[in-house]
């Protein structure tokens, strides 16, 4: 029972509109609707973000679409609706290797195509790395390749603190002059969403 209480308490804290020091760095930018949520690297991050957006209750479920692999089968994915933003969650998967996984080369090729297409459509690109150091790897790994394919082309970066221990995202932000918001924990992504889409 005590355990349940702790969890409920934590939830309560998280669901207040009060902002703790959980979200730091550049002020959260104002969001535009509708947007397309996707992921780079085929990790669980995209679904996690979708879930957190639902849980935040800041916007309607119909205000955004989730597509795990836009442009893989359908070249019109980015123009399926009048999207204003492309919201990319970066992170690969550690699930089974070989045939059970994805080939990262194909994934990167798709991501490159997606960025070009998004820029052509003049979408506001948000790159978010919200799973921390577990989704960082050696140079050349699926995680790093995914970051390199997306982050430098973003208009806005959201990164979890311990995923930026080596300062890679800070460097990208400075070089490309991209605003960078830092969160303490994955779950604080909910706060970012709430600030992005404040309910009057």
């Amino acid at each position: 029972m005590k355990k349940t209480l702790v969890v409920l308490l934590a939830l309560l804290i998280l669901s207040t509109t009060m902002v703790f020091a959980l979200v730091t760095g550049s002020p959260v930018i104002k969001g535009q609707l509708p947007f397309l949520l996707t992921n780079a690297g085929q990790g669980p991050g995209g679904k996690m973000a979708r879930l957190l957006i639902w849980q935040s209750k800041a916007i309607q479920e119909t205000d955004f679409d989730y597509n795990a692999e836009p442009l893989r089968d359908n070249p019109n994915d980015l123009a399926a609706r009048d999207y204003k933003m492309l919201f990319v969650i970066i992170g690969s998967s550690a699930k089974g290797l070989g045939a059970s996984g994805i080939t990262i080369e194909e994934e990167i090729a798709r991501l490159n195509k997606m960025i070009v297409e998004a820029q052509k459509l003049d979408l506001f690109i948000i790159a978010a790395h919200i799973e921390g150091k577990d989704r960082r790897g050696n140079p050349g790994s699926a995680d790093e390749q995914s970051i390199d394919a997306i982050a430098p082309f973003a208009d806005y970066l959201i990164v979890m603190k311990d995923g930026n221990q080596d300062g890679k995202f800070t460097r990208i932000a400075q070089e490309k002059n991209i605003p960078l918001t830092i969160i303490d924990n994955t779950i604080d992504f909910m706060q970012v969403i709430k600030q992005m889409f404040p309910t009057e």
């Binding site: 879930l51 059970s100 921390g132 577990d134 779950i187």
Partner: protein, 397 residues
């Protein structure tokens, strides 16, 4: 040169003595029983063979402990000891069994999912036979088993194992690996029949949420992780994020669709249960670990694994010198038993909470000590003295 017959007999006798000395220890391990004192909410113990009679009288049969609140609600099944060389999973199941309170719904716990595999050491791995958990009333001894079913119970292995029903080829010894034989066959090998019986339990009792406790080597990417079937993904993700923010680092991975025979894949595919598997870090089973000792099992402190960690080859927090600090402020040095037990306990509670939130109609209200409590008081604090307990609540496994 003709060797003396007496000399030959002498060698034979000496080897025989060696065999007897070793044999005594094998027999002792095979027949050693662990003691557990079930909580007051315990209602009934049945055997797995109730779901598949052909298991009766075999080492594949194993006790199922039932905690029925009598109040309508969700139902949960916990498997410990799917791989008995990850014995903390059984200890965690015991802590649940000794302390659980069920306010609504029904809970099933199988502490030794593969009983046969828990009765021998793993060939070539030189494990100690037992390890002990210190309690306020003395120390409590548990077996360290194998990964697969005892060859004395299932023999021979094929030259390649073909998974039923997918037809996927797997290494031959995986035919005795309970976490590769799901969903099992009623007329298959012993291990396949254990899987089938567990599936029958899940289907017949309409289990809502299923947990399979595991431990992993630190160099295995899926360590400190939930592995969730597609249906349980939302629950797993919320629980993982919550735990990482408030208690201990926890990752989440989706169950790969092409990897067959594993509980998180097959239980989800072949029943309505929400299937989750949890992995804690167990340096003891890392390929690079040094000396095989009981202390390594209990404290999880190993220099070679530390080297691997320093080279960035492990997939979770690990430090045997300064340790790392969890969100509650505990400093974790190595991968101690309490840490691993606590992870399983809170991993279960957190996921159940989220199931209750996502599916209020399945509400399962349970409580037992979690990570914070176990880290504070130690695992032994939650194990009860069988000599002082009501004999009807003392069980041997």
């Amino acid at each position: 040169m003709k060797n003396s017959v007496y000399l030959k007999i002498l060698f034979l006798v000496l080897s025989g003595i060696l065999g007897i000395l070793g044999g005594i220890e094998f027999v002792e391990l095979r027949n050693y029983k662990e003691t557990v004192v079930v909580s007051e909410d315990f209602t009934e113990m049945i055997m797995l063979s109730e779901y598949l009679p052909s298991l009766k009288g075999t080492w594949g049969d194993t006790p199922i402990y039932i905690y029925d609140s009598g109040v309508p609600g969700g139902s949960m099944l916990i498997l410990g000891g799917t791989h008995p060389y990850e014995p903390i999973t059984t200890v965690a199941a015991y802590v649940v069994m000794e302390n659980i309170k069920v306010e609504s719904g029904k809970v099933y716990v199988i502490p030794h999912a593969n009983m046969s595999a828990s009765t021998l050491g793993m060939l070539g791995n030189a494990y100690p036979k037992y390890f002990s958990v210190e309690t306020p009333w003395g120390s409590q001894k548990y077996r360290i088993g194998d990964r697969g079913t005892n060859p004395l119970d299932q023999w021979p292995d094929p030259y390649t194992y073909i998974h039923y029903p997918s037809g996927q080829n797997l290494a031959y010894q995986d035919i005795r690996n309970l976490n590769r034989t799901f969903p099992g066959r009623a007329n298959g090998t012993l291990t396949e029949r254990i899987s089938f019986a567990i599936m029958e339990l899940i289907r017949n009792e309409d289990i809502d949420i299923f947990f399979d406790y595991h431990e992993a080597s630190l160099m295995y990417p899926v360590v400190s992780t939930y592995v969730a079937h597609d249906d349980a993904m939302d629950i797993g993700m919320m629980a993982a994020m919550m735990l990482s923010a408030t208690q201990f680092p926890m990752k989440i991975e989706a169950s790969p669709k092409n990897l067959k025979g594993l509980t998180h894949r097959e239980v989800g595919d072949f029943s309505d249960a929400l299937a989750l598997l949890m992995e804690t870090p167990e340096p003891f089973i890392d390929r690079v670990a040094g000396r095989m000792t009981e202390e390594l099992m209990v404290d999880g402190i190993d220099e070679f694994v530390q080297t691997a960690a320093e080279k960035g080859l492990v997939y979770c927090d690990y430090d045997i010198k300064e340790g790392f600090t969890d969100p509650l402020g505990n400093v974790i040095i190595g991968a101690p038993l309490d840490y691993r037990v606590g992870r399983h306990l809170s991993g279960t509670l957190e996921a159940v909470n989220w199931m209750n939130m996502f599916f209020p109609e399945k509400a399962l209200v349970v409580s037992f000590p979690g990570y914070a409590e176990v880290m504070e008081n130690g695992t032994g604090y939650y194990l009860h003295d069988p000599s002082k307990a009501d004999p009807s609540r003392v069980f041997k496994n």
